[in-house]
């Protein structure tokens, strides 16, 4: 169950190419438009408090 959840999150996050079995959001689906819209909206809400990435000074 947890493994499936992890795989689904990786797929939603772009880290996995193929959707796990029983996961209905396929690559060609228009739902991706909504998902990207939601991500962009959330980024817009939270951006602006900009701090640098921790590892950049290394």
């Amino acid at each position: 169950m947890l493994k499936k959840l992890g795989e689904a999150l990786e797929y939603l996050g772009g880290a996995r190419d193929a959707a796990p079995a029983e996961f209905s959001l396929k690559l060609a689906s228009a739902w991706w438009g909504l998902w990207w819209g939601a991500l962009l909206a959330a980024i817009w809400v939270f951006s602006g408090q900009s701090s640098k990435f921790i590892y950049i000074d290394f």
């Binding site: 772009g14 880290a15 990207w36 980024i43 900009s50 921790i54 590892y55 950049i56 000074d57 290394f58």
Partner: protein, 391 residues
């Protein structure tokens, strides 16, 4: 900074990724080189080192030329390693090392010290190439291929640390599935940005309290919460960075190594290190641990090799005693884990730690270790004293 700026996407990533896919294969490295140089000069000039920082592009040009001399078994490869280390020592450790010798009245202090963009990462790629050429593990490659390897801007600043022999075939034959690459690449970039803005940056309001001024006035039970916030923040911050780097490379059709694989759910410290900053850990294993003898020496020396490798990891993370202590902490944890595993394998210990307890111990140990990473030694000492009621 950089990956969360509009200019990164508009002036560098989009044009470079599109051009790279449109031009003939022979021109591809030169597109990467051109944009890599522009990227380094632009961001160095505006963020790190100003005009002098921008001139550090000369390091890449020199490395590209000098690396042409490498041959299997040649001493020139070791000169290449030494000059990469010299760059790191001069820019990153000069004030730290001379300060250890001369103390606070350091006559050799470099007051205008700055770090060239990505110095810790590109020097590790230089060392990898020199060592692998010496051992005959990496082909020479064309001049343009090597320059494209070291100037591939999505991974130039903070990794993932690449290997030349993995990168060049992908550069020569990148994925041509635009639809899949751009879907996966952009999704990964957007998720990375969200992790950075919505989690890592938000936790700054907690982690900013980990200072010598604020710790003494805090209730001691809030201190672990702040430290835990730092543990979560550094994971989300660096994995977000890696997501954006890997997603950006994907837009070019080029796959680069993964850096994180759910490290905080791991049940022991060895597993943790196999899933945290993976490209660095593998570099350390290949270029520090194995050359020291790795696991093929007497047991006490194996433990010594583990400790030295983690001390190198510690000092690589920053020029300070606290980073050495952080490396020492993880070295000790890995040694304890190895002793425990060996005792288990030989049947000396039969007791099995339940999975949840094992996970909790690993999680607590890793997060306790962050105290030496995010605070200098005096502040970390104050933190622990106050937490246990001694301050």
């Amino acid at each position: 900074m950089i990956f969360n700026t509009a200019e990164y996407f508009l002036f560098f990533l989009l044009p470079a990724a599109i051009l790279c896919r449109l031009v003939a294969p022979k021109a591809r490295p030169w597109i990467i080189i051109t944009f890599g140089i522009l990227f380094f000069v632009y961001f160095s000039y505006y963020y790190l080192g100003g005009i002098v920082g921008a001139f550090c592009i000369a390091i890449f040009i020199w490395e590209s030329i000098f690396s042409r001399l490498y041959k299997p078994g040649s001493a020139l490869c070791w000169i290449g390693v030494l000059q990469a280390l010299l760059v790191l020592v001069i820019f990153k450790y000069w004030n730290f090392l001379t300060g250890l010798i001369f103390g606070s009245q350091n006559p050799l202090a470099w007051n205008g010290a700055f770090l060239p963009l990505g110095v810790s990462f590109f020097t590790f790629e230089f060392i990898h190439y020199a060592v692998d050429r010496y051992k005959g593990k990496a082909e020479r490659g064309a001049f343009g291929e090597y320059m494209a390897f070291i100037l591939f801007f999505p991974t130039m600043v903070a990794g993932p640390i690449k290997r030349f022999q993995d990168f060049t075939p992908k550069l020569a034959n990148p994925s041509t599935n635009w639809a899949l690459d751009w879907n996966r690449g952009w999704t990964r970039i957007l998720c990375g940005l969200l992790k950075k803005f919505a989690v890592a940056d938000l936790l700054t309001s907690f982690t900013d309290n980990l200072t010598a001024e604020k710790i003494p006035h805090a209730h001691r039970w809030i201190l672990p919460v702040w430290l835990l916030a730092y543990g979560i923040k550094i994971y989300f911050d660096f994995s977000a960075y890696s997501d954006i780097a890997i997603g950006s490379a994907r837009l070019f059709g080029i796959g680069v190594p993964e850096n994180f694989d759910w490290p905080y759910i791991r049940r022991n410290i060895a597993e943790f290190w196999n899933h945290w900053h993976i490209s660095l850990y593998r570099w350390l294993v290949d270029y520090v641990f194995i050359p020291l003898g790795g696991s093929r020496v007497a047991p006490p020396r194996i433990l010594g090799n583990i400790l030295i490798t983690m001390l190198v990891s510690g000092i690589w993370h920053g020029a300070g005693i606290n980073f050495l202590v952080w490396g020492l902490w993880h070295g000790c944890l890995l040694i304890i884990h190895r002793l425990w595993s060996t005792a288990h394998q030989t049947g000396k210990i039969k007791f099995q730690i339940p999975g949840f307890i094992s996970w909790a111990l690993t999680f607590i140990a890793v997060n306790a270790g962050w105290s030496f990473f995010c605070m200098d030694m005096a502040t970390a000492r104050l933190f622990w004293r106050h937490l246990f009621g001694y301050a």
